[in-house]
Amino acid sequence: MSLPFQAVVLWTDSLIYLFLVMAIFFAFYVSRKEHLLSPWRQIRRRGLAMSALVVLMFYVSVGLLDSIHFRKQLPETDINLERQYAPEVLSLLDVITGQLKKNVERTYSAPLATHAFSKEMLEGPDGVQQRVFPRLTFGGAHLLSPETERSSDLLKMLVKQSLKGILLFSILTFLFICILSQKYQIRPKEMLRKVLHGETETAWRSIIFTAGLFLILIEILAPLSIKYHLFGTDKVGQDVLYLSLKGIRTGLVIGTLTTLAMLPFAIFLGISAGYFRGKIDDAIQYLYTTLSSIPGVLLIASAVLILQVYMDKHSESFSSITERADIRLLFLCLILGVTGWIGLCRLLRGETLKLREAEYVLAAKALGVGHARIITHHILPNVMHIVLIAVALDFSGLVLAEAVLSYVGVGVDPAMISWGNMINNARLEMAREPIVWWSLTAAFIFMFGLVLSANVFSDAVRDAFDPRLRGR
């Protein structure tokens, strides 16, 4: 028996899975150690952080759904032939948002529009040619006379879906409160009071309300985005909401994998330089001073171009456009990582210089503790907050850097959907009158949500893990 599809594991996919496995393993490890768990408990109590976490979870789940790739089986033409699979690589997200991907217009259309953005010569039923705004193929196609019906249709849908959403939210909240009250062995009414007053150990109030907000929003927007183009369409008529959702994975990959590529360099070299001093320090400093005097964009550009040339010459080894784009994305992460470790490395070197003279390090040396153990037990944990802060700042910075690099043309593959490419394409239309604002706005909203929630959450993590701030 064979499946009607063929699983495709892209390079970045496998790294994301690896990252996920590491995160789960870490969570498991932490949950067994009481003293490691307590800072996380503190985060759990902070409402804002938990709201940010819910938003992040939304992004992460979309990103993960978009990281499960496969190729569909083509309809069998001949039983004797080997099974054929479609050349196009799809992701689970494509399947879920199937309608969005297919609703392609001819060109630009404004959000929730029923007519195209620009006039075209059309032949009327009476054979007279005139310049009009043509109807969209999908946007508001169910309306007979959009001019009169559109507002009422939108309002109807809004009210209906909001009510539906609130109802669903209430039911789910009720069930959830019941489960919670079971767990804490108190009456549901008492539990509800506690949650509403924010007296629970975990900030359930914030979690429930943020998740509820998302639920109601999705409930409202999902049918809207199918019947209309919620964020309009871009130049080639693709739905902007679909593009924004696909952009999430690219953003997350750039943010996480680059950090993964950067951390080993920064931590290993930074701490070695600061701890061992002398020749090792000189060598490492020389290395990063040299590297940082090369203009970063130039280095990235040349690296990406070399890769481009390589891929063009060996086009046979890439079975699909998606794979090509994926390799380029991975390579971009690596090269960003290689150029991006210098700042953190400097910080870590400085901090280690300070720590190696700390009395507890001297005491450990006096106790005969070896270098490796001093570094892993005394220095690394005490610079971890710097790493955490740097990672959080870099994450947002990298998501933004992707946009800049795409502008220069050395970012992700033009075929890959990313917020950077969206912005880059929208940039050309900023001068148009009336302005095409929705691509930019959509990319901005999605990017802003991700960066803001990541910053808020990492701030809470830092506060919880910095012992100097704890217990205040």
């Binding site: 507890y360 001297l362 005491a363 106790l367 005969g368 005490n382 012992p467 100097r468």
Partner: protein, 669 residues
């Protein structure tokens, strides 16, 4: 009444924090007479500095605020003044000097410029007038060659000089009141004596009042006219100086005085104050000192003691309110039991240091050419017997910590030998050195930076045992950790906590436990109590003493506090600029010092005991730089008894008795 310059009435300075309102200053009242010195004493965290900042209206905003009370400066309530009027008042009528001279001066401005700024603002002096006045001020605070110093930057002058500059700056507005917040805590005793002298002289000349904030009762005994003891945000006793030191009335003051180490208390344990200062974030029902007081009875728990006026001051204690009441007899404090003197008196040599030299190269230029050496330690010889304590005394920068670190093999030595039970430590390396490391350990000065904040106490204690592969009874079994913690007076639960959950004294106990875990024979104690309050210092010293009796530990006790030496050590070595100038049994050296430096050092220590009238031997100037030590005897530029020969050569040690030796030409004849 009209003689009083500053009157504080029921001052309350509160802080809003996450844990509620912290009443840092909670109903403090006192007054300072014109031209007098009023000392505010107390342990850290009792609200003394906050009282001073409240007077200046510099309470950290927005968390802190002056909740109520009056601060009357010649009848004018400062609390009602707007900020812009306060600004003209600060520096002009009230000025303040801070504890840390190193950070109180702006490093990118010249000294002259910084003083001039206040002159220009308050006295509207300009150009030459301002410059001349600045130089006058510098001269007045005893800075040699003031016109040259005028253009120097703070990093070019020493700590004592910086404090003088701070004082000059504080004096520039010719204030009526000078608030000195621990003005000498960061300085060495000889410099401290200079600064206290200076303050006394300036006070006489100008008739200004001084509010002296300090934790050092010795300094108070030297300079104060009136003393107020603060505890947990309020004043518990106020008295004239003489009366206070002769007959402290409040149990807390009594305890404070009796916890001071000194030679009278040799051989017995120091008085300790059990427990800790109560948290200030909730109102008190009874006496704040209740849970730590030996005299407490049920009334203390439930009734707030009122302020009782006495002939020489006042006191906040139920003992004074109800003298006729039958007070429960003083419970025998556990600490007052004497620790038996060491029975074993064998002279088993533990550590022998011979002509130890540690020179740090100074590298210059691109190619890191060695341009010279900092001779941090320049030929030091020491000997410690098992079960004995050798105190290494000297001013900061004389190289005593370097000696300690070199013995621990934490810095490479340039020359000389360090023999621990006959093994030359510097000849060991790698695994052999690591094996030997369990025999010698170190306790550091700062209990806050000597414990890794990210490690559990249990892991910290286990670290040495794991690294040195010592077989503690059972690897899996942690009972030895519990025992160790109990031994240093901590609960076994401590092993699952992080260091930040402990107070300074408790942390120092943990440091001691960490060292004990590997069962060493020699412990280098690098100023182990100088960061602690006196009552806590007493606890740590008692513990160290008790452990010495128990395990026959040898201590190299590095300190600058001579009263601790007097109480604790068996032998003492006085160090000056990398060399030992005097060495001998503690009784001999401290009662009959021979070397002029030792004498000056001893005379500079402020004495609490009013009977001990001392004559201060003033030594001028600061410690010279170890890069260019003076030719001849290193001490001769500061020595009051310098002879021509002192400029020529360094004196060789002269044996005064079997155990007492000194390096000075006076005795080499």
């Amino acid at each position: 009444m009209n003689n009083s310059l500053l009157q504080i009435r029921d001052l309350k300075t509160w802080f809003s924090t996450d844990e509620g309102v912290v009443r840092a200053v909670d109903g403090v009242s006192f007054e300072i007479a014109r031209g007098k010195t009023f000392a505010l004493v107390g342990e850290s965290g009792c609200g003394k500095s906050m009282t001073a900042l409240s007077i200046m209206k510099l309470v950290p905003q927005p968390a802190g605020r002056i909740a109520s009370g009056q601060i009357l400066l010649e009848g004018e309530d400062l609390c009602l003044l707007p900020e812009f009027e306060m600004r003209t008042l600060r520096g002009k009528r009230i000025s303040m000097i801070f504890q840390e001279p190193m950070t109180s001066l702006n490093p990118v401005m010249t000294i002259g410029h910084q003083i001039r700024e206040t002159l220009e603002y308050h006295l509207k002096l300009r150009n030459t007038a301002a410059k001349n006045r600045t130089i006058e001020l510098l001269d007045c605070v005893g800075i040699p060659d003031p016109s040259r110093r005028y253009d120097e930057y703070p990093h070019q002058i020493s700590g004592g000089m910086k404090q003088r500059v701070m004082i000059a700056m504080a004096l520039s507005g010719e204030p009526d009141l000078l608030i000195a917040d621990e003005p000498t805590t960061a300085l060495d005793v000889t410099i401290q004596a200079q600064i206290l002298d200076l303050l006394a002289r300036l006070q006489q000349e100008r008739g200004m009042a001084i509010l002296l904030i300090t934790h050092d009762l010795g300094v108070v005994a030297e300079v104060a006219d009136e003393v107020a003891v603060m505890y947990a945000g309020e004043i518990v006793e106020r008295s004239e100086r003489g009366a206070f030191f002769e007959n402290p009335r409040h149990p807390y003051s009594q305890k404070l005085l009796s916890s001071l180490p000194g030679n009278k208390k040799r051989g017995e344990a120091l008085e300790i104050i059990r427990g800790a200062v109560p948290p200030l974030n909730r109102p008190f029902r009874g006496c704040r000192f209740f849970n730590r007081c030996d005299h407490a009875w049920d009334r203390c728990e439930n009734v707030l003691p009122a302020w009782t006026l006495l002939e020489t001051g006042g006191i906040r204690c139920h003992l004074a309110e109800t003298p006729e009441k039958e007070v429960p007899s003083e419970t025998e404090a556990e600490a007052s039991k004497t620790i038996p003197a060491s029975i074993q008196d064998e002279n088993r040599s533990l550590l022998q240091v011979d002509h130890l030299k540690i020179h740090f190269p100074i590298q210059k230029g691109l190619l890191k050419r060695v341009a010279g050496y900092v001779k941090a330690v320049d030929g030091v010889s020491l000997k410690i017997n098992a079960g004995k304590t050798l105190a290494l005394v000297g001013e900061s920068g004389c190289g005593k910590t370097t000696v300690g670190k070199a013995i621990l093999q934490l810095i490479p030595q340039t020359e000389g030998s360090i023999l621990l039970e006959g093994t030359n430590l510097s000849s060991l390396s790698g695994e052999a050195l690591r094996k030997k490391r369990r025999d010698f350990q170190i306790i550091f000065q700062d209990p806050y930076s000597s414990l890794n904040p990210r490690m559990l106490i249990g892991d910290i204690l286990k670290e040495g045992v794991t690294a040195l592969k010592i077989n503690r009874v059972d690897k899996k079994n942690d009972t030895w950790i519990d025992q160790l913690l109990e031994q240093v007076g901590l609960s076994p639960d401590a092993k699952n906590l992080y260091p930040h959950e402990f107070s300074g004294g408790q942390r120092q106990r943990i440091c001691i436990a960490r060292v004990l875990a590997v069962q060493p024979k020699l412990i280098v104690c690098d100023e182990p109590t100088s960061a602690l309050d006196v009552s806590v210092q007493a606890q740590v010293l008692n513990l160290l003493k008790q452990l010495q009796e128990e395990y026959q530990l040898g201590y190299l006790f590095i300190t600058h506090d001579l009263s601790v030496v007097d109480y604790f050590a068996h032998e003492v070595a006085v160090m000056y600029l990398g060399r030992i100038v005097e060495f001998g049994p503690v009784e001999t050296v401290l009662s009959d010092p021979k070397h002029p430096y030792t004498r000056a050092l001893l005379s500079a220590v402020p004495q609490v005991d009013p009977e001990k009238k001392r004559k201060i031997i003033r030594i001028e100037g600061d410690l010279p730089s170890p890069i260019h030590p003076p030719k001849g005897c290193f001490f001769h530029p500061r020595c009051p008894e310098a002879m021509p020969v002192c400029r020529e050569a360094y004196p060789s040690p002269s044996q005064l008795s079997a155990s007492h030796q000194t390096s000075c030409f006076i005795y080499s004849r």
